[in-house]
């Protein structure tokens, strides 16, 4: 079972990642159009939850060489990264039961790295 991580910003879940190659998904944007191709990412899969954080999360990912490197870079940017229990396991006390409600555009791009 690959390791899974929850990424938070100010306590709000902004990203969930799995340490295995797979799909990058933006929960806010619609599915890719029929006929389009979307190759799996080289070393992780993940779902981004917050519109206003997606660009920053992608920029950090593009600069990363592995999941461990990505996590380190996320932490350096101020994100909280917590390992998540596998599906069906009891949640760790620090991981919380579910993603927090997403907030709006008020703090748009506050953490974007450009």
């Amino acid at each position: 079972m690959p390791d899974r991580y929850t990424v938070r910003c100010d306590g709000e879940v902004v990203l969930e990642i799995v340490d295995e190659p797979g799909a990058l998904v933006s929960l806010s944007a619609g599915p890719p159009p029929p006929g389009s191709t979307s190759p799996p990412h080289a070393f992780l899969s993940g779902t981004a939850y917050v519109v206003t954080e997606e660009h920053s999360l992608r920029q950090i990912l593009l600069a990363s060489s592995s999941t461990a490197d990505y996590i380190e870079r996320l932490r350096a940017k101020g994100y909280e990264v917590v390992e998540k229990p596998p599906p069906g396991a009891a949640p760790a006390p620090s991981s919380g039961p579910e993603p927090a409600p997403r907030r709006g555009l008020g703090r748009l791009f506050g953490r974007h790295s450009g």
């Binding site: 806010s28 599915p31 029929p34 006929g35 899969s45 519109v51 660009h55």
Partner: protein, 384 residues
């Protein structure tokens, strides 16, 4: 400048225009109720004006044997409706009780009103009966009045509760000068306002904002999304070019934007008609606090089991048997429980991902029933 179509009574009464579409069931009962009650009152009023009606139903203001007049007839009907509402509250279903508490409608009943009869139909039948006994010349008309009230009475509690819940959800359609506001309203009616009472109550106080992206206009040219200009989604698409988005905007607003070409009115989209709106609406219902905690837990359970049994990724061969267990694009629906649910909502309403036959055959309620029973069992109580 675009037009903001805020919720009106006419909006609420709008019925889906899509062929084979279910009517806007959330609003129709209230509309029917209003019409029938008005007809009943008018008939009763006319009755009182033409004949000295003997009161046979108990009441506080008229002694037996005296004409009750227009006010009296209206009062009897009011008592009947009040009793029906009271009974309805007492007999609220488990589902209705599951949702958040909402203010009760309890029409003022005169002091000394009779104890509630044993059934809603009984109350209203008695009203009809009283009217029938008032004179053979108007017997057929009175029967029609009584029958109409009985039929209306059966739906009174649920219709009132739904109308209450819907009244507490604000709908704001911003067309940005593009056509399609009626279609947008249809999707909102289906995805949000046709949901169960518990779900409607979960959306209490929320605003559903639906922005239409005109042809030739970028998402990031619309006021709520200008700050996204030049930035990318997590999967690498420019937000400027994205034609479907949902997001929370503050604690109480669920905000959408959908390209006008994806509203099902033209052939300029590669998606099936209505898919983007329905899919994004499914996200809005799921993550915009339109589901109960139990429903969210059930989605997690269903997804986890399906993923474990029939996992599909972008590298899974198209011929792999697991592909048959997910809605298209399979890898996307299998990516997380949110996409799994959102596409299932689109399937429930028959809005297919693509225009091809395979997609149209899979994005149906019957496919869910036959091929994804756990999800069917989640959606059935929500949409009936």
């Amino acid at each position: 400048m675009g037009t903001s179509h805020s919720q009106t009574e006419a909006d609420k009464a709008e019925v889906a225009g899509r062929p084979n579409a279910a009517p806007a069931v959330a609003t129709l009962p209230a509309m029917v109720l209003r019409t029938q009650a008005t007809a009943g009152n008018k008939a009763a009023t006319a009755l009182a004006r033409t004949l000295p009606v003997q009161r046979h139903a108990p009441g506080p203001t008229t002694a037996p044997g005296q004409p009750i007049g227009e006010a009296g007839v209206t009062q009897i009907i009011g008592q009947g409706v009040a009793a029906a509402v009271s009974l309805g509250e007492g007999h609220a279903s488990a589902e209705e009780q599951h949702g958040a508490a909402s203010p009760k409608i309890r029409p003022d009943a005169p002091s000394g009103a009779p104890p509630p009869p044993s059934s809603t139909g009984g109350v209203l039948s008695r009203i009809g009966g009283a009217l029938r006994r008032s004179g053979s010349a108007i017997a057929s008309g009175a029967r029609a009045v009584g029958g109409g009230l009985v039929r209306a009475g059966r739906n009174v509690p649920g219709a009132i509760a739904r109308a209450q819940a819907i009244a507490l959800i604000k709908i704001d359609i911003v067309d940005n000068g593009a056509p399609g506001a009626a279609r947008a309203r249809t999707y909102i009616n289906e995805i949000f306002l046709s949901s169960s009472l518990a779900n409607l109550q979960a959306m209490r106080g929320k605003t559903i904002e639906f922005n239409i992206i005109p042809l030739g206009t970028k998402l990031t040219e619309l006021a709520p999304f200008t700050s996204l200009a030049g930035t990318k989604t997590f999967d690498g698409r420019l937000w400027d070019d994205v034609r479907g988005i949902w997001m929370s905007a503050g604690a109480k607003t669920v905000r959408f934007a959908v390209g006008v070409e994806d509203l099902g009115t033209g052939s300029l989209s590669d998606y099936g008609p209505g898919f983007v709106a329905a899919h994004e609406g499914g996200h809005g219902l799921h993550l915009g606090h339109g589901l109960t905690k139990a429903q969210k837990t059930a989605i997690t359970t269903a997804y986890t089991a399906r993923k474990a049994a029939h996992d599909v990724t972008q590298t899974t061969p198209a011929t792999d048997a697991a592909q048959a267990f997910w809605l298209q694009p399979q890898w996307y629906s299998a990516a997380n429980e949110n996409e799994y649910f959102a596409s299932s909502v689109a399937a429930w309403f028959g809005y297919s991902y693509g225009k091809d036959e395979e997609s149209r055959l899979r994005y149906t309620k019957s496919w869910l029933k036959d091929n994804d029973r756990p999800m069917y069992k989640i959606l059935k109580p929500i949409y009936g």
